[in-house]
């Protein structure tokens, strides 16, 4: 396999919101910046089709006191559990600057000439989600990056990060021309988004029917771990909700009421469609849909009946910007009129809500390695804000850092090359789909909604056997399958770490349900760190600075 060396000051791994924002900011410090993107930065990842709400604090609207916004953030789905107050304050304080920047670049951040806040709202409390028209946000960010001289390399699957005596060497595959790309970077910013495809989707065997991008497979988390960085709270999981069977994010964009089959609202917040509030019931009561089904009182519907034509157009406008265009087109083709037809909602599959631990400067625990956005958790505004901040840190750092010494990375590079050549050269063996399904069934059965010491211990041994198979027997018939195979390796690595962390956290908390420890232990209100050592993974508890 041919090898190509690429020297750069800053390497942004992942060309999503975080990666592009980091690249833009880092390039402004004079650093040479490369973005390596698995697909195409114009439409890749979870934000590729757009977003319509951006959590922020605007003093002229919210008042001079930032506290209500911080409280709202701490309570939100993207907020508090794993963040310290310095981090959250930095996020909110910087958020309006990012809004103004995006507006200056041509992303419409206003509605009918004003800043409009709506959705995810509680009656009588502040609204923190700024409505914006983000359908083409990624083409704007790509253009701004290119304008500043950033090199964007599309269709590059980054899969390994080597910490060679303090120098970072990152490995990628360009499947189209069958090349191994070896990046020597003074600093690396990880921005690969969430980790999906660990757990089965609601549709059996249909791995890609999920709400977040199915191409975000935790590559950044796996690479951070390999480079020695701390991962936090991998055992905690999150489940989103939305239209049943047609998995889409954006329930906060709906203008309707969640109701039971007798038309009774399931929550206490709204009794008729309210464009300002939406219905927070499912944000607050995560298991509502399942609880109704289990008690025989389901299903639960999102009911927009009674909505005015104006409010319906308002909702449809924002759903289109929130990446729901194909969903709306489908409703139209099937003549399903939301003004007349309540649609069932359900909870989707589990995914990780832990990940790479980065601070308010975007720094990880490894010098020169930064991370942003959904490498931990936080959604669009977090990705935009901390992408910018990570670029602000990485750019100047790289301008003064020494040229990387990649010498010691050579044995690892050779080992990885052999692994790839093995996968491509083998004639018989499991493909990535088989491996992915095997992984998903182990995750669901042994580290799924029910966890215990004995289940986790058994599951860990199964995962380790699967990992061995994936590493030695998997077959890739072409470049496409090679990319998927490398994703699988990252997923299996993370699965093993998840099992170890889930065994260590002997309590029930945030999607981590230990039936043998069915309570939340206030003494474990901490970060559970996993990191790599020469002896293998180690687990440590870390206080969360409030």
């Amino acid at each position: 396999m041919q090898e190509q060396i690429i020297q750069t000051d800053v390497l942004c791994i992942g060309g999503g919101i975080a990666g592009l924002m980091a690249a833009i900011r880092a390039s402004e410090s004079g650093a040479k910046v490369v973005v390596a993107e698995k697909a195409n930065t114009l439409r890749s990842g979870s934000a590729g089709l757009g977003n319509d709400h951006f959590r922020c604090y605007i003093p002229d609207i919210h008042g001079p006191d930032i506290k209500p916004n911080l409280e709202s953030l701490a309570r939100s789905q993207v907020g508090g559990a794993m963040r310290n107050m310095t981090f959250m304050r930095t996020w909110m304080e910087k958020s309006f600057d990012i809004v103004k920047l995006w507006e200056s670049w041509g992303i419409p951040m206003r509605y009918e000439g004003r800043y409009e806040f709506a959705g995810h709202g509680l009656p009588g409390r502040i609204l923190a989600s700024l409505k914006y028209s983000g359908k083409d946000q990624k083409s704007v960010l790509t253009r701004e990056a290119l304008k500043r001289g950033v090199t964007v390399m599309n269709r590059v699957m980054m899969f390994d990060l080597i910490n060679s005596n303090g120098s970072l060497v990152a490995l990628g595959i360009s499947p189209k021309d069958n090349k191994l790309l070896v990046y020597h970077a003074k600093s690396v910013v990880l921005g690969t988004g969430l980790c999906t495809r660990l757990y089965p989707s609601p549709t059996p065997g249909w791995m890609f029917n999920i709400a977040y991008s199915p191409n975000n497979t935790g590559d950044g988390r796996a690479m951070a771990y390999k480079a020695g960085a701390e991962l936090a709270n991998l055992e905690l999981t999150m489940r989103w909700a939305g239209p049943k069977y047609f998995a889409r994010c954006g329930k906060g964009t709906w203008v309707g009421v969640l109701r039971d089959p007798e038309d009774k609202p399931i929550g206490p917040f709204v009794t008729k469609p309210d464009r300002k509030l939406g219905d927070m019931a499912a944000d607050i009561w995560h298991s509502a849909f399942e609880d109704f089904a289990k008690s025989g009182k389901g299903p639960v519907y999102m009911d927009c009946r009674g909505i005015s034509e104006e409010d319906y157009q308002y909702m449809a406008h924002w759903l289109r910007h929130e990446g729901n265009a194909s969903f709306l087109d489908y409703l139209e083709e099937e003549a399903i009129d939301l003004k007349e037809r309540p649609v069932e909602f359900s909870t989707y599959e589990m995914h990780l809500s832990g990940g790479v631990l980065y601070n308010e400067k975007g720094e990880t625990s490894v010098k020169g390695l930064y991370a942003a956005g959904d490498e931990l958790f936080g959604g669009i505004s977090c990705a935009a804000t901390f992408g910018w901040i990570a670029g602000d840190s990485a750019g100047p750092y790289s301008c003064s850092a020494a040229t990387p010494d990649a010498h010691e990375a050579r044995p690892r590079i050779e080992e990885r090359k052999q692994l790839i050549e093995g996968m491509l050269g083998r004639k018989k063996g499991p493909g990535w789909k088989e491996a992915n399904l095997a992984l998903q069934q182990i995750m669901q059965d042994y580290a799924g909604p029910i966890r215990s010491e004995t289940l986790l211990a058994a599951g860990l041994s199964h995962i380790r056997r699967l990992k061995e198979k994936v590493g030695t027997a998997m077959v890739a018939q072409d470049g496409h399958e090679l990319v998927r195979g490398l994703e699988l390796m990252n997923l299996v690595d993370l699965a093993e770490l998840l099992f170890l962390a889930a065994m260590e956290r002997k309590e029930t908390r945030a999607g981590h349900v230990r039936v043998d420890y069915p309570f939340t232990n206030p003494l474990l209100d901490k970060l559970l760190i996993v990191r790599k050592t020469d002896e293998g993974p180690i687990l440590e508890w870390k206080e969360l600075r409030r």
């Binding site: 049943k244 069977y245 194909s326 399903i336 309540p342």
Partner: protein, 70 residues
């Protein structure tokens, strides 16, 4: 299985091949109509529909994704 390409409208420009984040499409030969080789990896995001300059791509939402309504 989605997505579908209208062969009469398709100009073989390859925009759908370039844009698809799941790498669903491939062009078997220069100037060929793209083939949805990995259709089961489609996220049904609709990027190919939006980016096709000839409006030649449409999505057929498969039955397991049917929206359940009252």
């Amino acid at each position: 299985m989605p997505p579908l390409i209208d062969e009469e409208k398709c100009t073989r420009c390859g925009a759908c091949v370039d844009i698809c984040q799941s790498d669903v499409f491939s062009m078997r030969a220069e100037n060929a109509i793209p083939d949805a080789t990995h259709a089961d990896e489609c996220w049904h995001c609709g990027a190919c529909v939006m980016e096709c300059p000839a409006e030649a791509v449409s999505l057929r939402i498969p039955l397991p994704m049917m929206v359940c309504y009252k």
